[in-house]
């Protein structure tokens, strides 16, 4: 309903371009912290915090630069993964099918799941029009994928643009293996699951939200009756009339065997006509005939829902809640900026991050209960933000047997820490939970040990902890150091009382176990702090 209203645009009134009177903006340093975590998955530097503290208006000069950093692309991959749900821990084929060594298992699953996300992020950061997501002639690949799939990849480390060599049509993410490995079909499903996934992900049009009511006539107790229902029963036709023709366009990805790596690695152009045979309909998109996948991508690109869906998904990703009817005006403003910016994703983000709802840190006294319950003014750090921010701050990366512990659920803690697993959990946590708090506790302990060793004991300069902090003797010097640490991590200067309390903890631990443990405790408690875990 919401999407229908504002995607159509037209004569609908929009909210005035003024601050929302019910919301109070976050203080500039905390807002910078939020933007830094959202746009690059790390905290602002001390220099940036100091600058914004001295001159809050400097915030508007600093945060747009984050959109040009490599970290922004990495961050987009994480955000898209929460929407597209392609990062699963298992696919129908595995490393053994490609004769890859065991220590490549995590990389294999991560790479396959990330392929479609990397396409989206690449198009976003290369300032290509967003419509390229369904029309681009290429994909993204890392060395592992290039070694197992029919690809020609540009030189360079990490993820690089690549071209398929199996006569695959140019349809952007619709031509990716990763998407269809995640959203596979069965012999009896005829690509309908994929068609439903496609419209949901690209257009925010979810067929499966509609209730399915089986009727007694014609009888569903035989195949003919079922086929007749699908073709003629209005209740069935409300979905199948448009779903099946889209499914019919996806037969280049039809696999005779869904556990065969050769089948699943290749595109099969010779199977494209099978859609009409299996489904009894030619490929079309909501009544518009298409000749195959590339043309499907072209008509998708022309559908206004493509851009409105991108806006809605970005809203959800950055405001950490779903949009509802009350957000109509906000969405429309952002969409206009997106369109005025020639559908460059950075323009969408620029507009979104200027919305009061994004920048809110609290409520005015007369804010309604509805606003208070709807707006997420305090957002929970996601597992990916934990991973990237702690890596940048402390150098610590939580890995076990080659698996990144905050990016998997096979042996890791992604869902326990509030993340999505792409399968059973499809929505990131918005509130702390016991298991999440325990993950954070252990992560903080591990990161604290690592950074104390790196910065104070091994003498590495320029880290989170200044080397000159080691061996400080006076209370005032220690309090100053701890206060700076507090400022760096939480983007808020501690009160005198808070600084004293932190110092008291430091001294208590030091008297018990020595200075190294005291620093570990100080770092650990700040990483677990309510103002660190939220932003």
């Amino acid at each position: 309903m919401l999407l229908l209203l504002w995607a159509c645009g037209g004569d609908v009134q929009t909210e005035a371009l003024t601050r929302d009177p019910e919301l109070i903006a976050l203080e500039a340093p905390r807002l910078l912290r939020r933007m830094s975590l959202d746009l690059r998955g790390s905290l602002p530097s001390l220099t940036e915090l100091d600058r914004v503290e001295a001159d809050p208006a400097a915030l508007e000069d600093i945060w747009p630069t984050y959109l040009d950093e490599q970290a922004f692309e990495e961050r987009l991959v994480e955000l898209f993964s929460e929407q597209w749900l392609t990062r699963v821990d298992r696919f129908n084929v595995g490393i053994e099918d490609y004769h890859l060594p065991e220590d490549k298992e995590f990389e294999f699953h991560e790479s396959v799941g990330e392929e479609p996300l990397r396409i989206l992020a690449h198009i976003a950061t290369m300032d290509r029009p967003w419509t390229d997501v369904v029309t681009w002639d290429g994909t993204m690949a890392n060395p592992l994928l290039a070694s197992i799939w029919p690809l020609e990849r540009s030189d360079g480390e990490g993820w690089q643009p690549a071209r398929w060599t199996d006569n695959r049509p140019a349809a952007g993410v619709l031509s990716s293996n990763g998407l269809w490995w995640r959203y596979y079909t069965t012999p009896f499903n005829f690509n309908r699951t994929r068609a439903a996934a496609l419209t949901k992900l690209v257009l925010c049009e979810d067929y499966l939200e509609r209730p399915v009511r089986l009727s007694a006539a014609p009888s569903l107790l035989d195949e003919d009756g079922t086929e007749e229902s699908i073709r003629n029963d209005p209740a069935c036709q409300s979905c199948h009339s448009t779903l099946d023709p889209i499914a019919s366009a996806l037969y280049g990805f039809w696999w005779y065997e869904i556990y065969d790596p050769a089948e699943m690695s290749q595109y099969h152009p010779d199977r494209e006509p099978m859609g009409e045979m299996d489904l009894g309909v030619r490929p079309s998109f909501f009544g518009q005939p298409v000749e195959g996948l590339a043309e499907l991508g072209q008509v998708l690109a022309e559908d206004p829902r493509l851009t409105s869906c991108a806006v809605e998904q970005a809203f959800q990703a950055f405001l950490r809640r779903e949009a509802d009817l009350a957000d109509f005006g906000r969405l429309q403003r952002v969409q206009r900026a997106f369109e005025d910016g020639k559908l460059r994703y950075r323009e969408l983000i620029r507009a979104l991050l200027q919305e009061p709802a994004y920048r809110a840190g609290g409520f005015s006294e007369d804010a309604s209960e509805e606003s208070r319950s709807r707006e997420a003014v305090d957002r929970l750090l996601s597992p990916s933000q934990w991973a990237s921010s702690l890596s940048e701050l402390t150098g610590f990366e939580w890995k076990e047997e080659g698996w990144e512990q905050l990016k998997n659920d096979r042996i890791g803690h992604r869902v326990l820490a509030g993340g999505v697993d792409g399968d059973g959990v499809d929505r990131p946590a918005s509130s702390p939970s016991m298991s999440q708090a325990l993950v954070v506790k252990r992560l903080a302990q591990l990161a604290a040990e690592h950074v104390v060793d790196r910065d104070l004991l091994s003498g590495q300069e320029g880290g989170l902890l200044r080397s000159e902090w080691w061996g400080l003797e006076s209370s005032s010097d220690r309090i100053a150091a701890l206060s700076e640490l507090h400022w760096r991590l939480l983007a808020r200067r501690p009160s005198a009382e808070e600084a004293e309390a932190l110092h008291a903890l430091f001294e208590a631990v030091e008297s018990h176990a020595g200075e190294q443990k005291a620093w570990q405790s100080a770092v650990s408690v700040l990483l677990r702090d309510t103002e660190f875990v939220s932003y």
Binding site: T193, V415, L438, V525, T530, E531
Partner: protein, 420 residues
């Protein structure tokens, strides 16, 4: 069965009045002196009731146990199966599934089967969400997390999630996830060098908690509560093995341990069949027989175990645990070319134990294998009754838990006949 007979005998006018009243009004009326066959509100057993969900993911074929359809030529059933009554339950019996007969013989009187309720999706993920929340949309909490979050007791781990789905949109603080491979246990027993001594860790915990308590944001208060729960859970290390285990029995045991210690109100375990071959039998439907045989053997052991285990409130867990066995969809009445069955939007569920009006089957499938309408008050088939759906299923669970079910089910009433 006796209760429904009593209700019917109370007079047609009273029955009509009762049918028009919501559960809340009904209970108020009971306090005012109307005769009702169920325990009165003052006892409030629902509030102390615990729930153990055993979820058979993939879509079970109800013709193997719950819905005898052998006399219906339109529905493909296995050969040599017959309908029998055990413990008051009419069910499908087969020589390959003695565990089913054994279960109903022993616990049929504590069992209520709900047949033919509709879950309006043929997609697994949507049907699963519908079954557990009554809605296809995100943003709705599942029945277990609602029950857990509304518990009157201050529970350490209100809803223990071993395996299976979890949709806690607004009740995330209530859910304690164990992890698919015992990750929570590993984190609790964490012995890396990074972990400080217990004294120092206690100091750190107190500091972090105090900081949360000193905050004035809603988030701070929520985090403070969570940190207190975490302290409670950490104190259980050694008392409960949170690994969860690899098989159904081990996972159920973990939940029962939490119940016995009084730290949880709800628990969920997913059962994927023998050797985890799954219930989604588009080919080779016959494997469902093995799944049911194993499942019911475990369920008998589970009920036996509940009797042995003391409740933290006195008595045994048997007196306060309701076991809910369900699957997100049924299977098509006809076999396909691969001797399998496709998805079907009508399914069944089984409620066993505390609070359940047992020894009965409510609902039935018609000749086309659709669910028949039911009077939710009497449990009788009634053309003018309700077409049962996932919302009725959920409302019934919430009513069992002492909640005003219709508040959460959008006005859909619980199946009162299923409540003792």
């Amino acid at each position: 069965m006796a209760e429904r007979g009593f209700r019917a005998a109370a007079g047609h006018g009273v029955c009509e009045l009762l049918m028009k009243m919501s559960r809340r009004h009904l209970l108020q009326a009971s306090a005012a002196g109307l005769l009702l066959p169920r325990p009165l509100l003052a006892e409030s057993p629902g509030n102390g009731r615990r729930f153990l969900f055993v979820y058979c993911k993939g879509g079970w074929d109800t013709t193997y146990v719950f819905s005898p359809m052998g006399d219906n030529a339109e529905v493909d059933t296995e050969s040599n199966a017959q309908a029998i009554e055990s413990g008051g339950i009419l069910h499908v019996d087969h020589i390959d599934r003695p565990a089913v007969r054994a279960f109903f013989s022993k616990y049929g009187k504590q069992t209520c089967i709900l047949n033919g309720f509709e879950v309006r999706s043929i997609a697994h993920d949507k049907a699963q969400r519908l079954l557990f929340t009554g809605s296809p949309s995100t943003g709705q909490d599942d029945w277990g997390s609602i029950l857990a979050s509304q518990s009157e007791s201050n529970l350490t781990m209100p809803y223990i999630h071993v395996t299976g789905p979890s949709y806690a949109a607004n009740t995330q603080e209530s859910v304690a996830r164990l992890g698919s491979n015992g990750q929570l246990n590993a984190l609790l027993e964490f012995s890396e060098s990074a972990r400080p001594s217990s004294d120092i860790e206690a100091l750190e915990d107190a500091f972090v908690l105090q900081r949360a308590m000193d905050g004035n944001r809603n988030f701070d208060a929520r985090l403070g509560k969570v940190l207190e729960s975490l302290t409670g859970v950490e104190s259980l290390v050694g008392a409960i093995n949170f690994e969860g285990g690899d098989d159904l029995e081990s996972r159920l045991e973990t939940v029962l341990n939490c119940f016995e210690l009084g730290v949880s109100r709800c628990g969920i375990v997913q059962y994927d069949g023998v050797d985890e071959l799954g219930w989604d039998t588009h080919g080779g439907n016959a494997i469902q027989s093995s799944h049911y045989q194993e499942l019911f053997g475990v369920l008998t052991d589970l009920m036996d175990d509940l009797k042995r285990r003391p409740s933290p409130n006195g008595g045994s867990l048997y007196d306060e645990v309701c076991v809910v066995v369900c699957s997100e969809m049924g299977r098509h009445p006809k076999l396909n070319n691969h001797q399998g069955k496709h998805h079907w939007t009508y399914t069944s569920a089984m409620l066993v134990g505390a609070g359940v009006a047992g020894g009965q089957v409510i609902g039935q499938y018609d000749s086309q294998f659709f669910g028949l309408r039911v009077n939710p008050w009497t449990g009788q088939l009634d053309d003018r009754g309700e077409a049962l759906t996932d919302k009725h299923f959920g409302a019934t669970l919430l009513a069992l838990g002492g909640l005003d079910a219709e508040v959460y089910s959008g006005g859909v009433p619980p199946i009162e006949a299923a409540l003792r």
